[in-house]
């Protein structure tokens, strides 16, 4: 059997690895137009900042692929011939397949802003974007970033390390408001400002102004301010990349529609990772999960199902992590954002210097719903177990030490948290 995989991101690569693990005879072709080899997309900023070289962000040495008999093809897939079971690639090449996995990832949102296609306007998702940002940085004095998510703050830090001034436009009234609770959003906003970034909340982009040569010269924001900039980073979220499905019978909505076994409406064609939209989702989860670990988990399930199983994708208890300049963030379980329609009771502790925080969220029936921390590391497996076992907050506080994951000799923040919060919880 020949499995073709489009996309060498974490979803496609995990699928390829597991296919090989499970079956030594299956032929595997991994196709991507972006890069020769798999790389860690979340590490893009570190290459720009000089923390790592390009070869350092590749999780596997180049000899890994031939050794595991995974054939790599560096081309763009232009269309899928579902009937004839083959892929059309640029350069008039075709690749036949028995089964197909689409793991084509996301692309940056653009909201039809005037000037969004000028030179010096870029998203920050791909290697090509990195190269564009690198080229634009030469001699750059001032950049604008539009959209207050994770990628925006990473781009701000990147420019900051090169001494480039940043104006950062965020539509909501606190940073990352649709994910973070209000207080945490405020803290992150303070961190961003303390670095000298011009963070403008409740401000949207109105127009990107041409400098007369087809290049960005300035932006105008919703408050009427005009800022002279040489670069505009569009980081207002990403959406599934559906280009490859155009003209094929593969059903799409916001993403490529798949059922819980990750199969599309066409038998033998699967989708995984950022591009997949999983039907019948559980509880509070989004239909589309555009994070690293869900891509990995979907890739694993897809590999089994490509080989004939019909396992259902279950991402388990939600978790995630991020870093805003020096401030680390982790979340386990469900912690409603400032913008969530339905809030849950929660206990929050914030250190006096506002660089450490912990929030414990309770479900309506008094069980732990989720934990989030800033400036503190927590143990994934312990938090997950408490949530799955339905522990109450009194139990969590009594055992908080077990969940601490900070390095040795660090201040024991669990003591401060327990001291501050245990009076507020019914025994």
């Amino acid at each position: 059997m020949h499995v073709a995989i489009v996309g060498n991101g974490i979803a496609g690569v995990t699928a390829a690895r597991h296919l090989r693990k499970l079956d030594s005879s299956v032929r595997i072709t991994l196709i991507s137009g972006e890069t020769d080899h798999h790389w860690s997309r979340p590490a893009l900023m570190y290459v720009y900042m000089g923390h790592m070289r390009w070869e350092d962000v590749k999780p596997y040495e180049d000899h890994f692929w031939p050794r595991n008999r995974i054939d790599l093809v560096r081309r763009w897939v232009t269309s899928i011939d579902v009937e004839g079971r083959q892929l059309h690639l640029d350069g008039a090449r075709t690749i036949p397949f028995d089964k197909l996995l689409l793991a084509v990832g996301s692309k940056p949102n653009k909201f039809g802003w005037p000037g969004q296609d000028l030179r010096g306007v870029s998203g920050m998702v791909s290697l090509q974007d990195l190269q564009a940002i690198e080229a634009a940085s030469v001699g750059l004095k001032h950049a604008a970033i539009v959209g207050g998510g994770l990628i925006g703050v990473e781009l701000a830090e990147m420019f900051h390390t090169r001494g480039i001034d940043v104006t950062f436009l965020v539509r909501e009234h606190a940073y990352w408001n649709h994910v973070l609770p209000a207080e945490e959003g405020d803290i992150v906003g303070e961190v961003i400002r303390a670095e000298g970034i011009d963070l403008r909340l409740e401000t949207e982009l109105t127009e990107i102004v041409d400098d007369g040569t087809g290049q960005v010269g300035a932006i105008v924001d919703s408050k009427g301010d005009r800022v002279e900039v040489g670069f505009v980073g569009l980081t207002a979220g990403v959406r599934p990349n559906l280009t490859v499905c155009a003209g094929s019978p593969i059903a799409t909505d916001r993403g490529i529609l798949v059922d819980r076994t990750l199969v599309t409406n066409v038998e033998g064609i699967y989708a995984a990772g950022d591009c997949a939209q999983v039907k019948t989702p559980e509880g509070h989860r989004d239909l589309i999960q555009a994070v690293w670990y869900t891509g990995r988990m979907m890739g694993e399930v897809a590999a089994r199902n490509l080989l004939g199983a019909s396992d259902e994708y279950d991402s388990g208890t939600w978790f995630n992590s991020a870093k805003f300049f020096d401030l680390e963030y982790q979340v386990y379980g469900y912690v409603p954002s400032a913008m969530a329609h339905h809030q849950l009771p929660s206990l929050a502790w914030i250190s006096p210097d506002r660089r450490h925080a912990c929030r414990l969220v309770e479900t309506e029936d008094g069980k732990l719903s989720g934990i989030s921390v800033l400036g503190i590391r927590m143990r994934h497996r312990v938090c997950e177990r408490w949530i799955e076992e339905g522990r109450d907050l009194a139990y969590v506080l009594a055992h908080l030490r077990e969940a601490m994951f900070d390095p040795e000799f660090y201040r024991r923040w669990d003591r401060d948290i327990v001291a501050a919060l245990s009076g507020k919880v019914a025994a």
Binding site: M49, E61, G196, R296, S321, F409
Partner: protein, 470 residues
């Protein structure tokens, strides 16, 4: 830890460390002090008559160098907020094997070659330290005294750099203080004082097999550098030293490694480790992470260990058989071979001289027999491991890049496995640079340390087989 902003000057230039921007006027002034001190020292080396052993000369030039470097680092890191600031490292010629790195490598290598083979050529340098050496050791300075002095100075200055760079990280602060203490106190001052009192120095922080002479039959320890000289045999202090060496080499190594991993020695106590963790820190990213390098490392480091074990056994057997086996020259042969290939060529010329080209732990990784023994204990009989935090790894590669031992930490972390590797010196930098809080150095329980069935025996078999693929 509190994250008070330590900041000098205004919000501009952007708050990045000295690696990522051109120096400010203040930093340039401090660099000028370093330059002045270095010019004086170079002059002393090439024209010994200029300063002779004038008592003001050494304090002036080394004072200029120390104050200038600490001032430069202080004002440089003062522009940053506390946190990981590896900005611009791979854009730097010195830190990314550019022309500057080659120059630095050649300079340090040359220094080692001169030191080992033409020590007397450094007279202009060591006579500067004569007044100090007389006070400390009761004898005139020689090239080894100069070497010890410069070595310690580097550990202290670059230890200061570590304090600034990792001021948000208590593990790094305490660990750095520890290596500075052991280098200054137990590897420089105390041996000097002992030399004055007993006419014989002694290093409490080095044991067999790193210092094989400490556990060789006395009669065979000869000449300069043979620390437990013959005349010590009847001496109470001498006997204490011998017992100390035996207890450390045979007792402390397994016991302490069981509780804390090899880090109790390699990144907290040892002088070679001390230099690597301070002066070597700017070069830690240059270690080779490939599987090939790992394969080579296992052969070379265990090869050196086997060589020393065999030789020790041979010398003892020779001793027991009335020195008939090798003749009385046997030990000399050993010393010449060991001294030339291992101590001089490996630990000195390559080990330190190649910092800017191959990273800071070349000797520790490929050659040190002490590290080999500690590593075997750490791998199979220890409670130490680096725990991976569930599924949080994003495969970014910071951990592997900044592992001075060239361990591909990411390859474990991204599979959710613990890291239990013989070579890990427990420096903690992988955990420090990880942007997602994935890694934690821990002395946990022995069970549950290994993945798979959790048995050391299976781990041993896996180790022999090499790493599983896919």
């Amino acid at each position: 830890m509190s994250t008070t902003l330590v900041q000098i000057g205004g919000a501009r230039p952007a708050r990045v460390g000295p690696e990522a921007r051109t120096p400010t006027a203040l930093e340039k002034a401090f660099l000028a002090l370093v330059g002045a001190g270095s010019v004086m020292f170079t002059l002393a080396l090439f024209a010994p008559k200029v300063f002779g052993s004038a008592s003001w000369a050494a304090p002036t030039m080394f004072g200029l160098i120390a104050v200038g470097s600490i001032g430069y680092l202080w004002s440089g890191y003062g522009h940053t907020t506390p946190g990981i600031k590896n900005h611009g490292i791979f854009h730097s010629s010195l830190a990314n094997r550019g022309a500057l790195a080659w120059l630095a490598g050649i300079a340090v290598t040359t220094f080692y070659v001169v030191l080992y083979w033409h020590g007397e050529a450094l007279e202009g340098g060591y006579q500067l330290l004569d007044p100090f050496a007389q006070k400390l050791t009761g004898s005139p300075a020689d090239h080894w005294f100069l070497y010890g002095f410069l070595y310690t100075l580097l550990v202290l200055i670059f230890g200061g750099r570590m304090f600034l760079k990792y001021r948000h990280n208590r593990y790094q602060l305490i660990r750095t203080a520890s290596v500075m203490f052991f280098q200054l106190g137990l590897a420089f001052l105390l041996p000097g004082v002992l030399k004055k009192i007993w006419a014989q120095d002694f290093y409490f922080t080095y044991f067999w097999p790193l210092k094989p002479d400490y556990l060789l039959p006395f009669d065979y320890v000869i000449g300069e550098g043979g620390m437990i000289a013959k005349e010590w045999s009847g001496h109470a202090v001498g006997r204490f030293m011998v017992i100390w060496s035996a207890v450390m080499a045979l007792g402390a190594v397994p016991v302490l490694t069981w509780f804390f991993g090899k880090r109790w020695y390699c990144s907290w106590v040892c002088g070679c480790g001390g230099l690597a963790e301070t002066f070597g820190d700017p070069f830690r990213q240059l270690s080779d992470k490939s599987e090939k390098a790992w394969k080579f490392e296992r052969w070379s480091i265990h090869g050196v260990l086997v060589f020393i074990v065999l030789f020790t056994v041979l010398l003892w057997v020779n001793d027991a058989t009335g020195r008939k086996l090798l003749g009385s020259d046997g030990s000399e042969l050993f010393w010449k071979t060991y001294g030339l290939f291992i101590v001089m060529a490996f630990s000195g010329v390559v080990g330190v001289g190649f910092y800017p080209l191959m990273g800071s732990r070349v000797w520790c990784r490929y050659g040190c027999p002490q590290a080999a023994i500690l590593g075997i204990f750490q791998r199979f009989f220890s409670r130490f491991r680096i725990t991976t935090n569930g599924g949080q790894c994003i495969s970014c590669g910071n951990c592997s890049t900044y592992c001075e031992m060239g361990i591909d930490v990411r390859s474990y972390a991204q599979r959710g496995e613990n890291i239990v590797r013989a070579s890990c010196v427990g420096c903690g930098v992988c955990a420090a640079v990880c942007p997602r809080g994935v890694l934690k150095l821990e002395n946990g329980t022995f069970g549950g340390r290994y993945d798979g069935d959790g048995k050391p025996w299976s781990a041993f078999k896996d180790a022999l087989r090499g790493r599983p693929k896919a």
